[in-house]
């Protein structure tokens, strides 16, 4: 399912809203999650899961082609942990 398909499916259920309004709402929702992660906050959606960020420590990597070692700086990455119910439903059959 793509973003566009998600918007279409929502439109079918929210017939009184314009497609552009639904698009804007989906954008606003995903952006609110992104902004929370940028601010270092955790987004907790009961049953679905939680979005947070994790720190990847600095490490010495290797250029796979030349074998030369390169320093990889520490970084902060987005992380999603699926909730109990989501995990159970996906794993059911």
């Amino acid at each position: 399912m793509l973003r566009s398909e998600l918007v279409e499916r929502l439109q079918a259920e929210f017939a009184h809203l314009r497609l552009s309004e639904i698009e804007a709402a989906v954008d606003a929702l995903l952006d609110a999650i992104a902004v929370a992660m940028i601010e270092g906050r955790r987004v907790e959606l009961r049953g679905f899961g939680a979005f947070s960020t994790r720190v990847r420590e600095a490490r010495t990597g290797r250029n796979p082609r030349t074998g030369a070692s390169v320093k990889v700086a520490a970084k902060r990455v987005p992380f999603f942990k699926p909730g109990k119910e989501l995990r159970a439903h996906v794993n059911r059959e």
Partner: protein, 106 residues
């Protein structure tokens, strides 16, 4: 570092209603339905690709041998289907660039 407030469904509903000038009830139902639709897609085994945000995919894991860290006993981990989230390049960059911001009190 002070503990930042966790964002909930209610906060997301509020943000959507405010930004898009929607009735709170509509925004709330829309937020709820969006996550249900993502879940249904994943339950069907179909990945969800949200451009500029990231992709949710389902992966099948084979059985493997695990170990109880307390007792050291070997136990089989049953095959299972799990959800993984791969953030988009854009989201990764935004989070990385915002790193300094996270330390500020807000």
């Amino acid at each position: 570092m002070p503990q930042l407030k966790t964002v909930t469904r209610a906060d997301l509903t509020e943000a959507v209603a405010e930004k898009c000038h929607l009735q709170r009830a509509d925004a709330g139902r829309l937020v709820a339905r969006l996550f249900e639709m993502i879940e249904h897609s994943l339950v069907r085994g179909e990945p969800v690709k949200l451009s500029r945000f990231g992709n949710f995919t389902v992966r099948r894991k084979k059985e493997r041998i695990g170990r109880n860290p307390k007792t050291g006993l070997e136990v089989p981990i049953t095959p299972r289907t799990v959800v993984t989230f791969r953030p988009s390049q854009l989201l990764k960059e935004r989070v990385e660039r915002g790193k300094g911001k996270a330390k500020k009190t807000r």
